[in-house]
């Protein structure tokens, strides 16, 4: 698994601000000046917006839902009456009209509609997984880094376990297993097709990659003078964590990690669903669309290219924007 966290931490340096501006405000100002990052940030917002508007597209433009089969339907393509799916099961390609804008899949479903609905799932899972990762990483990383000693040893070993387990295999195994029977959480039962399952799986798998850098950062922070000051003042350890450590983290590495993890989670969700261990049918996600279409790639490449390119656009825009955030918080690493 790619250790992007290593990339980030290796280039983050502490910055002492001489002026009276908070690091956050300085960062925002720098971000505003970074045209490229802003551009991609807007692209990502557009992607999110378009996916949120999926029902509008489905009802008013394509006039069909994401799961509606149109196998026997006949529509006019370039004036000619064409079956949506031909006798041997090959679907039509993009029509670039309101119906079947990006073509149909083997079940005669509208690819454009599925792309948007699928995007909702992919993005939702991406966000939820990232939140799970961040919370988990903070819990592990801050506790281990701040308290050190045995706490650190035990937590670090636990992180090692998850980290050593080949991420894709862990996620696939968990995904397949949980998809069959669902998960009983005690207070709630998740059915096997709930998207909370892949969200949790992906979220958990990435915890060590973020927890370690956080731990490293916390180890450094706790030696800083403001922590000493707080200790002398008699603050409890918990208070120190909340009033000194966490804010510092939020001003430096947390936003960067969030963006990077978001991109990674979206990509891992696609891989998982591609392997059948993520989103379950009939729900769509960009990964399931890729998997469904992979068998017909030589004759109907649109089945794979459409969700694939959308996926790249989404991940790319988050990555570039995330890099912009990184540069905004820590300009010395940019060299531009």
């Amino acid at each position: 698994m790619v250790d992007q966290a290593a990339v980030v931490s290796s280039s983050i340096e502490e910055e002492t601000t001489g002026s009276g501006d908070s690091p956050l405000r300085l960062a925002l100002r720098r971000l505003r000046r970074n045209k490229i990052a802003l551009f991609f940030g807007v692209i990502f917002l557009l992607v999110v917006l378009v996916c949120l508007l999926a029902p509008v597209y489905a009802n008013d433009i394509a006039h069909t839902g994401p799961n509606a089969n149109h196998i026997s339907e006949i529509i006019k393509v370039n004036g000619k009456a064409t079956p949506v799916v031909n006798t041997i099961g090959l679907p039509i390609g993009p029509t670039y009209h309101s119906k079947f804008f990006f073509g149909a899949d083997q079940n005669g479903r509208d690819i454009a509609v599925r792309l948007l609905y699928g995007g909702r799932n992919s993005l939702a899972i991406g966000f939820m997984a990232t939140i799970v990762t961040m919370i988990g990483a903070l819990l592990f990383g801050v506790t281990a880094g701040f308290f050190r000693g045995w706490t650190d040893t035990i937590l670090s070993r636990l992180l090692d376990l998850i980290w050593a387990y080949p991420a894709l295999l862990l996620a696939a195994a968990l995904g397949v297993s949980l998809a069959v029977g669902g998960v009983n959480l005690g207070f709630a039962h998740l059915s096997g097709s709930s998207i909370l399952i892949p969200s949790m799986v992906i979220g958990v798998v990435y915890i060590p990659y973020v927890a370690r850098p956080i731990r490293g950062e916390v180890l450094t922070l706790r030696e800083r003078e403001f922590v000493d000051a707080a200790r002398i003042l008699g603050y409890s350890r918990v208070r120190i964590i909340f009033s000194e450590i966490l804010p510092n983290l939020s001003a430096s590495i947390l936003p960067v990690f969030f963006a990077l993890q978001l991109a990674q989670s979206i990509v891992l969700e696609a891989a998982l669903s591609f392997l059948g261990a993520g989103v379950q049918p009939p729900s769509a996600s960009w990964g399931t669309m890729l998997s469904d279409g992979s068998g017909l790639i030589s004759v109907s490449p649109h089945l794979v290219l459409v969700p694939g390119i959308m996926l790249i656009i989404a991940a790319l825009s988050v990555n570039v924007f995330g890099d912009g955030i990184r540069q905004a918080f820590d300009p010395r690493s940019s060299r531009h």
Binding site: N67, N69, S72, T87, L90, V176, S193, P281, P282, S300
Partner: protein, 566 residues
């Protein structure tokens, strides 16, 4: 390959010597497209040479007493000859049983419990050891001991086999053999008209009595057939080499083989597999695979004279649980059958399915083509019909009932269920899907406690007898786990019509065909199942081999011993 479960008290079929004559008007025979011959080949192929076979899945095992797939069967039936076997012909003619290692079809006692046969003399295994009568008993015992998936056929019908399986006996008391005379006497625990078909299983083919009681998937036992195994690379390839001695036995009706060598290799990429045969780089496309949609147009245009869609005795349907809402209501089931677009489902199968609405498939006595009471399967239902179906459900007060569609993971089965899911939602139900890993699918829906409402199912014949299919619709077939009567169909009318038919000896099958057809029509009228099609398999060969000489037998699939170069 699916085998049926037995034991559960199928009313005994009394017996007589089994001769399956051709079916009556009920649509048997070769109805595939293409120009292949429908009966016995007249032209012969050249002797010698090497034939290359590609398949998408490696046989689960090359051990005849363990294998349970068509790929294993195709390998084994050239190597091991059972006491009885099927005529090497296509279509309904290929469902006829002929003597294999036995001198003649068995003599059956009047109470249907004793079968007597004599082993041919002079037959030897490919290493020179003579085949003996006791070897038959050993094969049955071994199949039971190493847990062949269909051993319930033996334990259910052969006297003493169940005790042997449970370890209570050292041998099977119901099988008596005499090596000096070659006489074999089998005693049944209950009469069963289709027992001759059981004797035709590969797992009942005699193998040396010295064969150890453990699975030998990759170093299979010695056989006595026209071919023997050569080099085996597990999960990769295997070789069949001609056994020259076989021709000297002069067993009538069993092909002695054309090619000197048959090389079978695995390529899980079925597109590449099809292309290899298209370019004649390989000679035989495994009949158990489907030609992918992306290559099919090329095959159909470039290989017209060597590609033929062959109908199989295999029905594809959606089961509907008649004990649980909403499908315990006949209106709901009929609505599904009315509104189902069978040509659409055929498209999803890349054209491999032939649309149909009756439960018994082609080549099985009682099969009927044509429209059912709820519509014509070859025509997509009109919008008006769908609306009518929707209204039926609404009037029955079933609109909004939550339904779960059970599905396998692989395509096209998942695609069938995706269609069904959408159809049910259109009809007014609240439908969702549950996709289960292929490996556990049938065990999952066969678990009664889950009360599956509707989902994917299919059934391929174990042997050409309609009673094999009616297990799935009879009360006797209901089981709490590993259920095969997924719809829990329990209809006294079916039982009353079924009982006398199953008692009739199998020789009366053609005479009974109209009665089976009537029963099948009743089932369709009651919409107990939502049948949508029958599987066809491709007979697709290279231009190097003689297409008409090669035989695609409905029970044993492609007989490698009939594939030869031009």
């Amino acid at each position: 390959m699916r085998m049926r479960r037995t034991v559960l008290g199928i009313a005994g079929l009394t017996t007589a010597a089994l001769t399956l004559a051709a079916c009556s008007s009920s649509g048997g025979g070769n109805t595939g497209s293409g120009n292949g011959p429908s009966s016995q080949n007249t032209s012969a192929a050249k002797s010698g040479g090497t034939v290359k076979v590609v398949e998408g899945t490696y046989p689960d095992s090359l051990d005849p007493d363990f294998s349970y797939t068509t790929q294993g069967l195709e390998a084994d039936d050239t190597v091991y000859i059972p006491l009885l076997t099927y005529a090497a012909k296509e279509g309904t003619a290929g469902t006829q049983l002929i003597p294999g290692l036995a001198t003649a079809l068995p003599t059956v006692s009047s109470d249907g419990l004793t079968y007597t046969m004599t082993m041919r003399s002079g037959i030897k295994y490919s290493d020179g050891t003579p085949v003996q009568a006791a070897d038959f008993a050993h094969a049955i015992e071994r199949s039971i001991k190493i847990s062949w998936g269909g051993s319930s056929f033996f334990t259910g019908y052969i006297k003493g086999a169940a005790d042997y399986a449970a370890g209570k006996a050292q041998t099977i008391s119901g099988i008596q053999t005499d090596n000096s005379t070659g006489k074999i006497t089998i005693t049944l625990s209950q009469p069963y008209g289709a027992f001759d078909n059981i004797l035709a299983f590969e797992s009942a083919a005699p193998i040396p009595s010295s064969t150890p009681m453990k699975v030998l998937s990759n170093t299979p036992p010695i056989g006595d057939g026209p071919y023997k195994f050569g080099k085996v690379v597990p999960n990769g390839s295997y070789q069949l080499l001609r056994n020259a001695a076989f021709a000297s036995y002069n067993i009538p009706g069993i092909p002695t083989g054309y090619a000197d060598e048959v090389d079978v290799s695995v390529n899980s990429n079925t597109t590449a597999e099809a292309q290899a045969v298209l370019n004649s780089q390989a000679d035989v496309f495994d009949a158990g695979d489907t030609i992918p949609a992306q290559v099919l147009p090329q095959v159909m245009s470039q290989a017209k004279d060597r590609y033929q869609k062959t109908p199989l005795a295999s029905t594809y349907y959606f089961f509907m649980n008649s004990r649980v809402a909403p499908f315990n209501n006949k209106a709901a089931r009929t609505a599904v059958n009315m509104a189902m677009d069978r040509p659409a489902l055929a498209k999803l199968s890349s054209g491999a399915l032939t649309p149909g609405c009756n439960f018994l498939p082609p080549t099985i006595a009682g099969h009927a083509d044509g429209a059912c009471s709820f519509g014509d399967p070859t025509v997509s239902p009109s919008a008006a019909t769908v609306a009518k179906a929707k209204q039926m459900i609404k009037s029955a007060g079933l609109a909004g009932t939550p339904v779960t569609v059970w599905s396998e993971t692989r395509q096209p089965r998942q695609n069938f269920c995706l269609y069904l899911n959408d159809l049910l939602n259109t009809l007014g139900f609240k439908s969702t899907m549950k996709v289960v890993a292929d490996a556990t699918y049938f065990q999952t829906i066969g678990n009664e406690s889950l009360n599956p409402q509707i989902g994917f199912a299919d059934w391929s014949q174990d042997f050409p007898n309609p009673s094999d299919f009616y297990l799935l619709l009879s009360k006797a077939g209901i089981q709490r786990t590993n259920n095969e009567n997924f719809g829990d169909v329990d209809d006294p009318q079916i039982e009353s019509q079924l009982a006398p038919l199953e008692k009739d000896p199998a020789s009366q099958l053609s005479a009974d065909a109209s009665k089976w057809q009537a029963l099948d029509k009743y089932v369709a009228d009651q919409s107990y199942v939502a049948v949508y099609g029958y599987q066809t398999a491709p007979k697709f060969l290279s231009d190097r081999v003689n297409f008409s000489a090669a035989v695609f037998n409905p029970v044993d699939y492609i007989l490698f011993s009939t594939v030869g170069l031009k």
